[in-house]
Symmetry: C2
Subunit: 284 residues, 2 copies
């Protein structure tokens, strides 16, 4: 039931970070694996939304019956790459009652007074839930590294800590899907500029976005280290070309759909006698 | 911009609990105030979803700029009345990044070791967010009262505690909208029966649902006490006929839209110099 009509190659294979992966060699403006254009992509998104909602309901049902499985989507990207649109247009197709969204901003003093994983642990999805991290523990080795927010040996330590954390999650039933939306530098400039053109977009712009943009190369290098050190069989990274918003959305949607399909979900068996309950209900 | 084309009377007036309100006199099967039929209702829901999403984005933007406003929708109802459908079809139209959903089930031992409001406080929406309580602190005076889960004087005490809690919320910037989905007893029987007809619905059925159904009258009385004691100018109750799912959805959607419109939201002014930032961006 995955979307083989529209895709020539399974995006969860095509976009997966493999040994020897070099971020600097990855295009940002393609639509790899997808047969159609933007219009076809928008149709595929609508169809995929229904499929995703159905799968999520099955996951939720399994959680209610005591199955420990959950899914965690980790979203990382440079500013304006489209995380918000993924949340709205891909995650938004699922029932909010089964989704746990967590946005990670600048750490509070209380968060800084704890290990960097403390605030992250509190937001991991419970059984049956789809968790979404809008930014994540990776900020602590991205802006943390680029801006030297912690000593070098602490940054070093974190890659191993992240791997151990993600291993723990996956061993306890969580399927971890890590996505980097890969945006072109020129495309970012256009998108930031458009936020300065319309008063209803001003609030989305922050002068600090330009400060970060000036460190573009350092961030790309920090991402490369992330891929080198935290790509694992249990918690893979996917790098999704993001210059075309429509493509990034259907690609991430497919990653979720295929991960959920991989769980081979079944509707739970009743733990009561159906005929007996029909009888009780009839008399009530 | 509220939907005056489809509604003869503002549902936030029509469905609001007023002094002298008697739940037992309220129909469950009408579509009060709405001009059209089910098909018109489904169209209105789609249109309203876009309006709601826009208003929510403005609320979210205001929160990012330090405005303290938020909205809390409290959903209460007998089993199968359609809370889940409201969450999916009404709340689902908003960006998940701006929604905080909290479902309140049977309290855990840790929750029981605290005041009944403890677990509720932890889930109230922050600035700019739309919070949704799927069941709520009202369970502690509904099942709490009917099943005598606490001494009578403790149940008594809770009505005042709830009013004080909701006053505190509203005074700190939260608009509180309390909705009871009002379902007919026969309609509930049909809906429970349908869950026993299809294997993919079995998980939604729980034999305890029939136990609760057998206490129908006691629950209706407990709701009446709730309306008598916790209807306030700052945190009103709305009783929404729920035998027609399509009607309940557009009615709750309108309650949210009109509450958000009442906040008179504006896009935030930039706290930076737009032209200066354009210049910096151009050079980056």
């Amino acid at each position: 039931m995955s979307d083989d009509r529209n895709w020539t190659t399974d995006p969860s294979e095509l976009l997966r970070v493999q040994p020897g992966f070099r971020l600097s060699e990855q295009p940002t403006d393609g639509s790899p694996g997808f047969r159609g254009d933007k219009t076809a992509g928008e149709e595929a998104l609508a169809d995929g939304g229904k499929r995703l909602a159905d799968l999520q309901e099955q996951l939720f049902a399994s959680g209610r019956e005591g199955e420990p499985r959950s899914v965690l989507l980790v979203l990382q990207a440079m500013d304006t790459a489209g995380k918000g649109g993924i949340v709205s247009h891909v995650i938004g197709a699922m029932n909010p009652g089964g989704v746990r969204y967590a946005g990670f901003g600048k750490p509070t003093p209380e968060e800084l007074a704890h290990d960097f994983l403390w605030r992250v642990w509190r937001e991991v999805p419970g059984a049956g839930k789809v968790g979404v991290f809008d930014r994540s523990h990776y900020e602590d080795v991205l802006i943390g590294r680029v801006r030297e927010r912690a000593p070098a040996e602490e940054i070093e330590r974190r890659y191993g800590a992240i791997n151990a954390f993600e291993k723990e999650l996956t061993q306890s039933g969580t399927t971890v899907i890590k996505v980097m939306l890969h945006l072109g530098r020129d495309e970012q400039k256009k998108r930031l500029a458009s936020r300065l053109e319309r008063p209803e977009k001003y609030w989305k712009f922050n002068p600090a976005d330009v400060d970060e943009r000036l460190l573009w190369d350092a961030y790309q290098e920090a991402y490369q280290v992330v891929f080198d050190r935290t790509t694992s069989a249990y918690a893979p990274w996917f790098v999704v070309p993001a210059d075309h918003k429509w493509y990034a959305r259907i690609a991430v949607q497919q990653l979720l759909i295929r991960a959920l399909e991989g769980l081979d979900l079944q509707w739970p068996q009743p733990d009561y006698d159906v005929e007996e309950q029909k009888c009780r209900l009839e008399q009530s």
